[in-house]
């Protein structure tokens, strides 16, 4: 069973078609990178799958549960209860972290386990302590987000997403708000998760990283999937002119 199935997904903002018949699957344990120029629809795709944006048509299934499909040319979403259940199977790490500034690191991580999953505070804290250790934030559990570096904040937000034990973790340009040095520590964390066979979908501008960590790459442009495949193949030996052009510009930088 695929963790995520997307079939001919489409989305427009007014007249502008942002996603045009996008289809792809994510399998258990897969690490998928989505690359492409700005405005190619990568982030919108992620937001549609995460229910932050409503798709206009197509079909999305998460862990075999239908989230939305199309009937008579109109997008039909699953009942609210189902959508909520699906949401809990999914974690999202934002580009600019979106930590809760009035809550400490520990409080940020246990917020959802305690108030959404209704776990006891003790149990949630125990599990959070493990995540905090894993993210290398041992001394920071009582700090507030404003006291942390960007890299540390992003690690907290990864821990916060993992605290719900999601089946798949999405990253929306997780390193774009960070300088190169801090980018390294986030990439390291993601690599660790990949080793543990965490299923991940990563929208990124870090080509080297996409090549390194993922086992499948999608290249998007103008709302289409231009090419997808094995990273070594796509980065090293693409036959597609548009992909070549895009990668050349990145290497030139």
């Amino acid at each position: 069973m695929s963790i995520l199935e997307v079939k001919s997904l489409s989305k427009s903002f007014g007249e502008l078609k942002v996603l045009k018949e996008i289809s792809f699957n994510v399998e258990q344990g897969q690490v998928l990178s989505v690359i492409g120029p700005s405005g190619s629809g990568k982030s919108t795709l992620l937001r549609c799958v995460n229910q932050l944006e409503r798709a206009d048509g197509g079909e999305i299934n998460v862990c075999g549960v239908n989230m939305m499909h199309t009937e008579n040319g109109k997008a039909v979403y699953a009942p609210k209860k189902t959508l909520r259940e699906i949401r809990l199977k999914i974690g999202l790490v934002f580009q600019n972290f979106n930590l809760f500034p009035h809550k400490s690191v520990m409080e940020n991580i246990i917020e959802a386990p305690v108030h959404v999953l209704k776990k006891s505070k003790e149990q949630a804290k125990e599990e959070a302590a493990e995540l905090i250790r894993k993210m290398g934030l041992m001394t920071k559990e009582n700090s507030y987000p404003c006291e942390l570096s960007g890299g540390q904040q992003q690690r907290v937000s990864i821990a916060r997403a993992l605290a719900l034990k999601p089946d798949v973790l999405f990253f929306d340009e997780p390193t774009s708000a960070l300088d190169p040095e801090l980018t390294g520590e986030i990439l390291l964390v993601i690599k660790e998760l990949a080793k543990e066979k965490m299923t991940m979908v990563i929208v990124t501008h870090e080509m080297e990283f996409a090549k390194d960590v993922s086992n499948h790459v999608i290249f998007m442009d103008g709302g289409y999937i231009v090419e997808e495949g094995d990273p070594a193949e796509l980065f090293g030996n693409t036959q597609n002119e548009r992909t070549k052009q895009f990668l050349r510009r990145y290497k030139g930088m």
């Binding site: 809760f100 917020e111 404003c146 719900l164």
Partner: protein, 236 residues
């Protein structure tokens, strides 16, 4: 005016501090919750409600508070006498007449006028605070499976609270001074008595003493809000 006169004026004014404070605290008590309701009505998706609320805010902020006080104060006697002249008797009119004749009538009309006016300002302050919270906060809460009430009360509201403190402190300081508008309908508070004493002694010293009273009250308000800001300074 000699020192002893000044001292006795000070003592007299001191007796009217509770009257001023009563206006101040009762206005806050009603206008802050009312301000939240007004903000909520303005954001209402049912357009006529939102428009009416906008009109309300425009009128309240667009006309002088002193005028609003006078209107509220004299509107009820006029309604009652009109009803009497046209022979329109009802329970409601009876109720208004009783209200009009009660000893608290003056205080009640002041609280109504002040609260309606300040609620309009508070509504806009709260709206500004609410709209300044980045949409990412809502999205993060949504992704964690939090319900809308959970998101509002656990994530958004505490942050709004911190953000509106400076604007609310402005408004509260203005209110301390605006209580003196109660003089218009001859409600006995610091300002009215100070003016009487000014006439009695043919001296402006009573006004300076009254000014000192308002100044001290606002110094205390400033201190309270400084402590409040400090309390919330643990995060940005």
């Amino acid at each position: 005016m000699n020192f002893n006169d000044a001292l006795s004026v000070t003592k007299l004014l001191l007796e009217y501090v509770p009257a001023t404070l009563k206006l101040f605290f009762f206005t806050l008590l009603f206008s802050i919750p009312l301000g939240m309701v007004v903000m909520w009505l303005k954001k209402c998706r049912f357009k006529p409600v939102s428009w009416l609320t906008k009109l309300y805010i425009l009128v309240m902020r667009g006309t002088p508070l002193i005028l609003q006080i006078v209107v509220v104060h004299y509107a009820i006697p006029m309604i009652v006498s009109n009803a009497k002249n046209s022979g329109n008797e009802s329970d409601f009119i009876d109720w208004l007449r009783e209200l009009m004749l009660s000893e608290n009538y003056m205080f009640i009309t002041l609280i109504v006028a002040f609260s309606l006016n300040y609620a309009a300002y508070f509504a806009e302050i709260f709206r500004g605070g609410l709209e300044s919270i980045p949409v990412g906060q809502y999205e993060a809460a949504q992704m964690l499976g939090m319900t809308k009430p959970q998101t509002f009360f656990r994530i958004i509201l505490p942050q709004v609270f911190k953000r509106v403190i400076p604007a609310v402190s402005n408004e509260v300081m203005t209110l301390v001074k605006d209580t003196s508008l109660a003089t218009t309908i001859a409600y006995a508070e610091i300002m009215l008595i100070a003016k009487q004493q000014m006439n009695t002694y043919s001296s402006i010293v009573p006004l300076f003493i009254a000014g000192l009273f308002y100044f001290i009250m606002n110094a205390i308000v400033t201190l309270v809000f400084m402590l409040l800001e400090k309390h919330y300074s643990y995060y940005r």
